[in-house]
Amino acid sequence: MEFAFTQEQEMIRETAAAFLAEVSDSAAVRRAMTSEPGYEPALWERICGEMYWQAIHVPEKYGGMGLGYVELVAMMEQMGRYLLCSPFFSTVCLAGNALRVAGSKEQQAQWLGQLCEGRLTAALAFNGGSSRWDSGAITATWRRKGDSYVLNGGYRYVIDGHTAGLLIVAAREEGSSGEEGVTLFLLPAETTGVTRQWLPTMDQARKQAAVQLDDVSLGAEAVMGESGQGWKPLAKVIDLATIALAAEQVGGCQQLLDMTVAYTSERVQFNRTIASYQAVKHKAADMMLQTEVARSAIYYAACVAQEALEGGPLAGELSEAASVAKSYCSDAYFAIAGDALQLFGGVGFTWEYDVHLYLKRAKSSEHLLGNGAYHRERLACALLD
């Protein structure tokens, strides 16, 4: 048992932090977030070309780096810390994981290869507009027509859905409900019948879209895995992405804590730095506690995710680990953001200071892929029913 980063993992984290400190400072985030795509293509090209992050946990046979989920989580933590505006989460953590979990060898070779080359970004769409991120959220439908499938319906909260080149969508067989009848499809974004619309969001640093499908016709080669049996793999993909998102939340917690300690150590009132007041110190101590606890949760979840992908005795814990991490990290991030804003006082309320960017991210990440209450209810079902 060695529940700590290896030297190599430590290095990956530090390299990521140093790079992001340079390319994703406040000015860069504000530039990217006010554009409709939500990221600067030149920076994304640099990330794909120089850093190769988009290929981090893709197996080498598909052109990836072949690293593990622990490395991915370490990277997500840093991206959350610097609020990097990029299609990384949608492309790697959502669509990339969907290809890894549900794609055939041919599909993986074709699409993961393109993702790794940085030529393609991708998004995952399954939620028709529900606050519950389970099979009930899937409202789009498919039906057979000869050898092809006809898809209809809509999706909301599709991260980077308006810019992605490839969509992976979940739809259910007409008339089915629950976990039955769900199928995953590969859907190039330019396919006839696909309408995508950017949804402006409070958290401008991560873009969401609505996707509408009107009589979209797809061949059998677009189906991922077995038709009608898509819920199980999709549930796994959602759990994997949830863990990555929780890691991003931890990065945000850490940044808010650092910013708050720095600010309160400089701000003087009544001839003392406000950091010397116990009311401030105790709040900061609680922020550190929540940050460290959240970090313990995601490192464990990362190890579980790794085993869920590659095999191992902990693979069966995936859904629990995801819910434990996401419920704690969601609540911690928003609480810390609120406390940070309070401790910054008036300037924390301004557009100029960065606190609001994190407060807004905390709320958007909290609800994305299920908030604390949703994940606790998942845990409660397993414990109590």
């Binding site: 804590l257 550190m288 460290e292 464990y300």
Partner: protein, 400 residues
């Protein structure tokens, strides 16, 4: 990062589990799940017999080096031992203060003679220890020790005068390790000595403190010219604070995993009650049980981080270790409240007069002490802010 244990360690786990299964039977059956924090007053004599049974099997002081009678277990094996011990419902260790605190201090700072004199009794489970730190005026301000130690040249002994408080197991103990002021002119953490004091002598009086639970496991200990041999000071006079604080460095959190198994047993009991009385269908209760479950899981992961972390050369705690006390104490206190809210109005009804508490009732009341002893939540927050975040230290008050 690697979470799994090696095959050798898994064999060790089997060995521990089998031994406990074979030996925690017969006369020891009634000790199961008893004698933990809040329940220390139960079966002290029987638990000492159990302690000696453990010693026969070589299961006391498992983390101590072999040369001092320990088992020389790796961190992983210690984790496994404490986990299996708690999983089996084996009783609260009546010897834990000797094994976890007195012994390691003597090993680190004691003379060869002190090691020969005291370690074998701890390993054998024949000699029990208590800790004399807190005093009526030295609570959070632990260094404000008033108890004095004066060396009497005529008798060639230290004479101890003063009072300690919150001394758990004092009435069952053979020895007490205590800090007392060797330099009467000194203040705060300077001028203290660390003493090993025999409890069975005329100069010591132990008075139990009746607690919120109606039971007593904490005591007041009065020293009135209590004697301590010249050889029974650890370190030099004036080094007492350094020795006492050195204890903190030994605790990397191995035993916390056993404590968490006890928490798990309690949470399981809460879940059982909730399923029995229908509270498990109440959405608000479901949320709270799930939260308790999730946070206990993370408590374990946090301990694993503590155990795997490099121990800093300057003895400072890493961040995940700094937050640990505040985290578990607050969690445990919430569990007590949850337990009562799961029971509903039935939580009021005692098992009998005058004040027989059920396990959950006792837990609910006793956990109020968790956020106070060993550094209150407020002191913990000061420590976290100052040592973990580098924020300014609290200003010192001026003496009246």
């Amino acid at each position: 990062m690697k979470l799994s244990f090696s095959p050798e360690d898994e064999l060790f786990r089997e060995e521990v589990a089998n031994w406990l299964q074979d030996n925690l039977t017969g006369e020891f059956e009634k000790l199961k799940y008893r004698g933990g924090p809040g329940d220390e007053h139960m079966f002290p004599a029987e638990r000492q017999v159990w302690e000696q049974k453990l010693a026969e099997g070589g299961w006391t002081c498992v983390g101590w080096p072999k040369e001092y009678g320990g088992r020389g277990c790796s961190i992983e094996q210690q984790v496994i031992f404490f986990e299996e011990y708690a999983r089996a419902g084996a009783p609260g260790r009546v010897g834990h203060i000797g094994e976890g605190l007195a012994g390691p201090t003597i090993i680190a700072f004691g003379t060869e003679e002190q090691k020969r004199k005291y370690l074998p009794g701890i390993v054998a489970g024949t000699q029990l220890w208590c800790q004399g730190y807190s005093e009526p005026s030295a609570g959070s301000d632990l260094a404000n020790v008033k108890t004095r130690a004066r060396f009497d040249e005529g008798q060639g002994k230290w004479l101890i005068n003063g009072q300690k408080v919150w001394t758990s197991l004092a009435h069952e103990s053979d020895y007490c390790f205590a800090i007392a002021r060797t330099d009467p002119e000194s203040v705060a953490h300077k001028g203290l000595g660390f003493f090993l004091i025999a409890m069975d002598q005329p100069g010591i009086e132990v008075r139990p403190i009746e607690q919120i639970t109606g039971t007593s496991e904490f005591n007041e200990v009065f020293f009135d010219d209590a004697q301590c041999d010249a050889d029974d000071i650890v370190g030099a006079p004036g080094d007492g604070w350094k020795v006492a604080m050195g204890l903190l460095g030994f605790e990397r959190g191995v035993s916390t995993l056993g404590q968490q198994m006890q928490f798990q047993n309690e949470l399981d009991e809460v879940v059982r009650q909730a399923r029995n009385n229908g509270a498990a269908k109440d959405p608000a209760i479901r949320q709270r049980i799930a939260r308790a479950h999730a946070e206990l899981k993370i408590m374990r992961y946090n301990s694993m981080r503590m155990l795997s972390g490099q121990s800093a050369s300057d003895g400072t705690l890493q961040k995940e270790a700094l937050i640990y006390k505040l985290y578990w104490a607050t969690w445990h206190r919430s569990l007590g409240e949850l337990a009562m809210d799961v029971l509903g109005p039935e939580c009021e009804i005692l098992e009998g007069a005058p004040y027989a508490l059920s396990r959950l009732q006792s837990m609910y009341l006793f956990v109020r002490s968790d956020t106070i002893y060993g550094g209150t939540n407020q002191i913990q927050r000061n420590i976290i802010a100052e040592r973990g975040l580098g924020m300014p230290r609290e200003p010192k008050g001026t003496a009246k």
